[in-house]
């Protein structure tokens, strides 16, 4: 009986439309919403332009406040960041630095949960199939506290700070996410056998929160074993939660085992703000301006933005269009084994919208 209904679902498009794609909005929810856009450096401007073009084609009720040439040290510009709840980010670097870890930026907006989605996409050559991992990384403290000093000439101390409050916060977020997304397992990644106090505190916070969610399986894994398991057998992982530095490494490993940096979507969530960006913070300076960057990561991330704003239908359309472009139309950018340019890819995604 179940199979007949599913078959009818697939063949009868009107039936499909009636059941699955409608969203009953509160009156007035379709009004224009403001979203801050930070194109940033490197490949940032190209991918944010791609997203804005796709939103335009769909007539999404969103107004973009673009902040070009953003400088975090400029007070005025920094205050502008807090204006809207949602932010779309290309690539953020620190001034005159080659690295993207602008941790002060995330602390300023208190975006404490950094999330990366990595799943196997059919149509892209990967070393592992059936991977579906969500990495949740604590984004404000840990090794990124920025507290360092030279104790004695030639001897430097960098301080890794872990607080119970931040650990509890990220644990709550991870389990809540798993619960609301229908995920079955949460793995806490740590190095408590060596860093007994700091990672021990992190783990105890997670054990506390795990008890409130008895229907979600909770396990712990040491970071080095975790990385090894990721390259050997990634299908065992579901949701993974970890402190800041390990998160940075694991995000990149999961991107490496699935479609790459160009396919992994990401977001940084806090109480007052939500930032949507690529999953991995790479500047891509070597491919910037050459029209070869893959905008899929930011496109999928923008669909997460749309769901956050309460516009799920547009989100579904963008995701399906990206999937169709890669799988059916077989149009891929260089990083996933094709020859299309960013513009060609974006145009094709726009063509696939609404199907």
């Amino acid at each position: 009986m179940k199979n007949c209904v599913r078959q009818a679902f697939r063949s009868n498009s009107t039936l499909r439309g009636a059941w699955s794609q409608n969203y009953l909005q509160r009156p007035g929810e379709g009004q224009l919403k403001n979203v801050t856009v930070l194109p940033g450096d490197g490949i940032g401007p190209e991918i944010t332009r791609s997203v804005m073009q796709v939103f335009d084609a769909l007539h999404v009720p969103v107004k973009f406040d673009v902040l070009d040439n953003f400088n975090f040290d400029n007070d005025e510009q920094r205050n502008l960041l807090k204006k809207n709840e949602c932010i779309l980010l290309g690539v953020m670097t620190e001034k005159n630095q080659k690295y993207t870890d602008n941790y002060r930026f995330y602390k300023y907006l208190d975006l404490y949960a950094n999330i990366t989605f990595a799943f196997s996409v059919e149509g892209i050559k990967q070393r592992h199939n059936n991977t579906d991992i969500v990495v949740i990384r604590e984004n404000t403290e840990g090794e990124y506290s920025g507290v360092e000093h030279e104790v004695y000439p030639g001897v430097v101390e960098s301080i890794k700070v872990t607080t119970k409050q931040a650990s509890l916060r990220i644990a709550e977020y991870a389990f809540e996410f798993a619960h609301l997304s229908g995920r079955k397992k949460v793995t806490a990644v740590h190095k408590a056998n060596i860093m007994k106090l700091v990672d021990g505190l992190f783990l105890s916070a997670h054990r506390e929160v795990a008890q409130k969610y008895p229907f979600i399986k909770y396990e712990e894994m040491i970071i080095d074993n975790c990385c090894m398991q990721l390259v050997k057998n990634p299908t065992q992982f579901d949701v993974m939660v970890m402190p800041n530095l390990y998160g940075s490494i694991v995000q990149n490993v999961v991107a490496g085992i699935t479609g790459g940096v160009g396919m992994a979507a990401g977001a940084s969530i806090g109480k007052d703000h939500a930032l949507f960006s690529q999953g991995c913070r790479h500047t891509g300076r070597d491919i910037a301006g050459k029209n070869i960057v893959n905008p899929s990561a930011l496109l999928v991330s923008s669909s997460l933005l749309l769901r956050h704003l309460g516009l799920p239908n547009f989100a579904d359309q963008i995701c399906s269009a990206v999937q169709e472009t890669i799988q059916e139309r077989k149009l891929k950018t260089k990083d996933i084994g094709g020859k299309a340019s960013t513009e060609q890819f974006t145009k094709e995604v726009i063509k696939c919208l609404g199907k």
């Binding site: 872990t162 007994k196 090894m228 390259v231 940075s248 990149n252």
Partner: protein, 348 residues
């Protein structure tokens, strides 16, 4: 007639002063795999005499260590040691044995070569990387404290001397082993002073080795490259924590810790070890895979300049793995430890 034959056989076996090497069998499967290695080395007639040292969990010293001063002195005296797997307790009272050995013997470099093995199928063929990890300081300094209730600090120490030692070792290693590239992995974007110092020292040392291509990469980008396409990577040098993570990642690329060799190098002595766990669930059942300890032993023989013996045993081991007729359970076969050991001995 019989007496003459017996006498001639005893004369034909001259008593050289075999070099003594310390052996720590370890816990769990440690004793079984140690025996396998001893048997293979015996069959290959390697001129080594093993000196056994056990470590007992009940005898904790004043400093909270499980290894006595005498044992440590002995390792320094004999220079070479081979070590099986030990249990590392999570959050318990005494310090991990591995960390103690490294700190007390000043084993400043951990070298883990990872090369794809023919006959072991992984999604990553063609890997040939070496991870050189700073082994004494960094995040593993063990300096932690609770500042106020609910706020904990861990101190990561980076010192110029340790960076100099490891960088020097890395480039010497590359030169001695004909390696073309060395990449320094760091997180200097975030830890500007700490990893910044490490990077600066590597840069300075690189100037003395113009034939080797030196570059630097952030640890997360390196992790991405390793998971995406590790065939382009050669030698990597990095501080303690990153090295721990990356060396295990590389082990995963070639088939797991059961096939990975590892060496801890100091100025006075070298300890080669099997880096896998104690596998308590298969301990004592003759199912364990001794390849990791064997490959580490081979690394040790090469360091002791007994290259002929090392190469013979290595060829035999790889040949058995490639053939695939006698593989232990973890590699998908059904052989016991003793079957696998015998297969290698037969190939010598």
């Amino acid at each position: 007639m019989n007496i003459i034959r017996k006498a001639s056989t005893t004369i034909l076996r001259p008593q050289f002063n075999y070099q003594k090497v310390i052996l720590f069998p370890g816990d769990g499967i440690g004793p079984e795999i140690s025996k396998a290695v001893i048997d293979i080395f015996d069959a290959a007639k390697v001129p080594i005499e093993w000196e056994f040292h056990e470590i007992h969990k009940k005898r904790v010293t004043e400093q909270g260590d499980l290894i006595t001063e005498d044992t440590l002195k002995q390792v320094k005296a004999l220079k070479y040691a081979l070590k099986g797997p030990f249990e590392t307790p999570i959050g318990k009272g005494y310090r991990s044995i591995n960390v103690t050995l490294r700190k007390r013997l000043q084993l400043f470099a951990n070298v883990r070569p990872c090369k794809s093995i023919k006959g072991v199928k992984t999604p990553y063929p063609g890997v040939d990387v070496v991870t050189i990890r700073e082994n004494t300081e960094g995040e593993y300094s063990g300096l932690e404290h609770e500042v106020v209730p609910g706020v904990v600090e861990n101190l990561k120490i980076v010192s110029y001397n340790a960076c100099q030692n490891i960088a020097q070792y890395a480039f010497e290693f590359a030169r001695a082993n004909n390696r073309k590239q060395v990449v320094a992995c760091h997180k200097a974007g975030v830890m500007k002073q700490g990893d910044g110092l490490f990077l600066k020292v590597c840069d300075d040392v690189a100037k003395n080795y113009p034939e080797i291509e030196f570059s630097e990469e952030q640890i997360d980008t390196m992790a991405f490259k390793l998971a995406n396409d590790p065939t382009k990577i050669d030698v990597m040098v990095m501080p303690n924590l990153y090295g721990d993570i990356v060396s295990d990642l590389c082990a995963g690329l070639i088939g797991g810790l059961g096939l990975t060799a590892s060496g801890n190098i100091g100025k006075d002595c070298e300890v080669y070890e099997a880096v896998h766990g104690t596998a308590p669930d298969i301990a004592g059942k003759n199912l364990a895979n001794p390849t990791a300890l064997l490959l580490s032993g081979i690394m040790m023989l090469k360091a002791m300049k007994l290259n002929d013996y090392a190469n013979r045993i290595e060829t035999a081991t790889y040949s058995v793995l490639e053939e695939g007729r006698f593989l232990t359970g973890d590699l998908g076969g059904k052989s016991t430890t003793t079957d696998y050991t015998k297969a290698i001995i037969d190939k010598l």
